[in-house]
Amino acid sequence: MGLTNLDRLFALFLMGFGIYILSVGIQYGYFRDGIPGPGFFPFWTGLAMAILSAINLINSIVGKESYADSLDREQVIPIVGVCAVLAAYLLIVPYLGMLLPVPLFVLGVAFTIQRRWDRGLTLKILASAALLPIGCYLVFGRFLDVTLIRGPFGF
């Protein structure tokens, strides 16, 4: 997708969202008994967001704001992949605990960022996959005394 199209979509989304903030703000109460209510600040913020986004959208449509670049697949795949691996990790945590799935998380993120591993890189990634859960346990679980979510094996 071209960045210009993404820019327009984002501006359109923000314009709609600004209108939503504004309308909900009015429901909260703009002024009550002559003094500003809970909706006073949301009203102005939503209004500003909607107007500014409309101007941004118009600027983009008339060509005042354009981008030569585009988001190609090579750029987007690692980012979406990292997000997906982190999301998968977060979904697994309630069942396996926080520490056990960490090596899988490391391998998943590493593979998403770089597909081809030579021997040296493989060793480094495997070492970090093994050491990260230990490091996190020592720093967060012991040193900072954070109650980590435990898995079926008690860690």
Binding site: M49, C83, L90, I113, S128
Partner: protein
């Protein structure tokens, strides 16, 4: 007690083991992060935020400040050796630093970078020490109208100066202001924009937003950039990294001018260290005897911007600590960190917690000295960090971030929110929506809303109360000038263009 006496006490207190350890850890992280393109000190401080929740305030602040100043020192190392600026304030250093390295003078360039950073830092620190207390004392007289006006001025300056497109800056600010509203209304207690989620009643934690927008967002953006190993290998030795007396004398005016420019530009919200380095470099070239040497390996071209960016980073502490108004991304994240450890930046901080302030200043002086030694020793490491495979580095950093965010409230929900803001931060970065106004909106929005509503409640809805006090009036005029100035200039240009084309037709 005099300022010097208070500072000496502060330096002695800063020498406590835990403070020294915090400085050492902070500057090491700062130096390491500074060489990774796209991942600046704001991301470094943001990533550290979840870890510092349980720390004592001085220790927490010393670590955060260490990252900030470490970032300023280290960014130039890769700029000189590899021609790749680690962060935006190091861009100007590439212009002369890298040609110097190519001419076989990498040691001299690195040495001048460290020396200029030290001098700039020292000048910035002396001015910070001299001015901060006076500014805080003057600010004690500020009531809600003045603080409201000051916040509006700071927010408008940051939105206009913080990015390429001021309209997008204001839009980002509106996003931040909305994020700051989520949760219970501070005055009426009514839930706002919580989407029926009980977890959102207390609002979004600032560090989670900061970690997402700056930490994860910048890391996602860094995945975009590809680094190739260059053919050029700079040669330097430890001995060659000590600037000669002749070089210091040659650069004395650039050092002093750069430090002073850095300080006074750095104090302005939104202008920041990058603008300071550009002005310092341009001024150095303008007043140089041989301006044609600039861009081809002039050592003054390294001295001026490096003195400026370090001085600017200390100057940025003045609005943060004395007024509670951060002017840059890093200081905004630091303000969030201060609030997390139970301190509210602003004039009352100087009155109620003088020990904290002077110990903090003490850690700054020690940190400035530690950075000279550490940067010099770590140059080979810093030059190689940039080539550590991201497939190794990023899983580790993202893993620690996830654990850190969870540890704030012991909630996986927060990690989801951070991930969401990471994606938002990446999109904003790609589309030139600056993240700084958004983060400032989150920090200052609730305070601004309280200020406006309290003032209006006291005046029974009469808006003229904001204009009755002279300081507030001046600040409001300043805000109007910042917002309307560019529009007026554009209208004048447009009308001139119209009148010039008429006779031609």
């Amino acid at each position: 007690m005099t300022t010097v006496g208070l500072l000496m006490d502060g330096i002695v207190a800063a020498l406590a083991f835990q403070n020294l350890l915090a400085i050492l850890i902070g500057v090491t992280i700062g130096l390491s992060i500074s060489v990774l393109p796209g991942v600046g000190p704001a991301a470094g401080v943001a990533i550290l935020l979840p870890l510092i929740v349980g720390f004592e305030p001085t220790v927490a602040m010393a670590a955060m400040a260490g990252i900030y100043y470490g970032g300023m020192y280290g960014g130039a190392v890769t700029a000189i050796l590899l021609g790749i600026p680690g962060d935006s304030p190091s861009v100007m250093t590439v212009l002369d630093g890298h040609p110097m390295a190519k001419q076989g003078r990498a040691g001299a360039a690195l040495g001048m970078n460290v020396f200029a950073s030290f001098v700039g830092g020292l000048v910035g620190l002396i001015l910070l020490t001299a001015l901060a207390y006076q500014v805080a004392r003057a600010a004690l007289a500020f009531g809600p109208p003045e603080m409201t006006a000051l916040m509006l001025l700071a927010l408008s300056l940051v939105s206009v100066l913080g990015g390429r497109n001021a309209l997008k800056g204001y839009t980002a600010l509106a996003i931040g202001l909305w994020l700051g509203m989520i949760g219970l209304d501070p005055m009426a207690g009514r839930p706002r924009y919580t989407f029926d989620q009980v977890r959102l009643l207390e609002g979004l934690s600032f560090p989670i937003i900061a970690v997402g927008l700056f930490g994860l967002g910048q890391m996602f953006a860094a995945l975009d950039t590809k680094l190739t190993k260059g053919e050029f290998r700079a040669k330097y030795s430890l001995g060659s990294m000590f600037p000669t007396w002749a070089e210091i004398v040659k650069c004395r005016l650039e050092l002093l001018r750069g430090a002073l420019i850095g300080f006074f530009v750095g104090i302005l919200p939104g202008a920041g260290a990058t603008a300071a380095t550009m002005i310092a470099y341009a001024t150095a070239k303008r007043f140089a005897k041989n301006p044609e040497e600039f861009g081809h390996g002039a050592i003054q071209g390294v001295a001026a911007p490096e003195a400026a960016n370090n001085s600017a980073s200390y100057a940025a502490m003045i609005p943060l600590l004395t007024l509670g108004i951060p002017g840059s991304a890093t200081t905004a994240v630091m303000m969030g960190g201060l609030m997390m450890v139970g301190l509210q930046p602003g004039p009352l901080l100087f009155r109620d917690h003088p020990d904290f302030i002077w110990t903090l200043f003490g850690t700054f002086y020690i940190g400035n000295l530690v950075l000279v030694v550490l940067t010099t020793l770590m140059v080979p490491v810093l030059a190689s960090i940039i080539y550590i495979s991201r497939a190794v580095l990023f899983p580790l950093v993202i893993g620690v971030v996830a654990f850190g965010v969870y540890s704030i409230n012991y909630a996986l929900f927060d990690v989801w929110i951070a991930l969401l803001f990471g994606a938002l931060g990446y999109i904003m970065l790609k589309l030139d929506y600056p993240a700084v106004p958004a983060v400032l909106g989150v920090v200052l929005g609730p305070m601004l809303e309280r200020g406006i509503r309290r003032t209006l409640i006291a005046s029974q809805g009469d808006l003229s109360v904001f204009l009755e006090r002279p300081i507030a009036l001046v600040l409001f005029i300043g805000t109007a000038a910042v917002i309307l100035g560019p529009i007026v200039v554009r209208l004048v240009r447009w009308s001139r263009g119209a009148t010039e084309t008429k006779p031609a037709q």
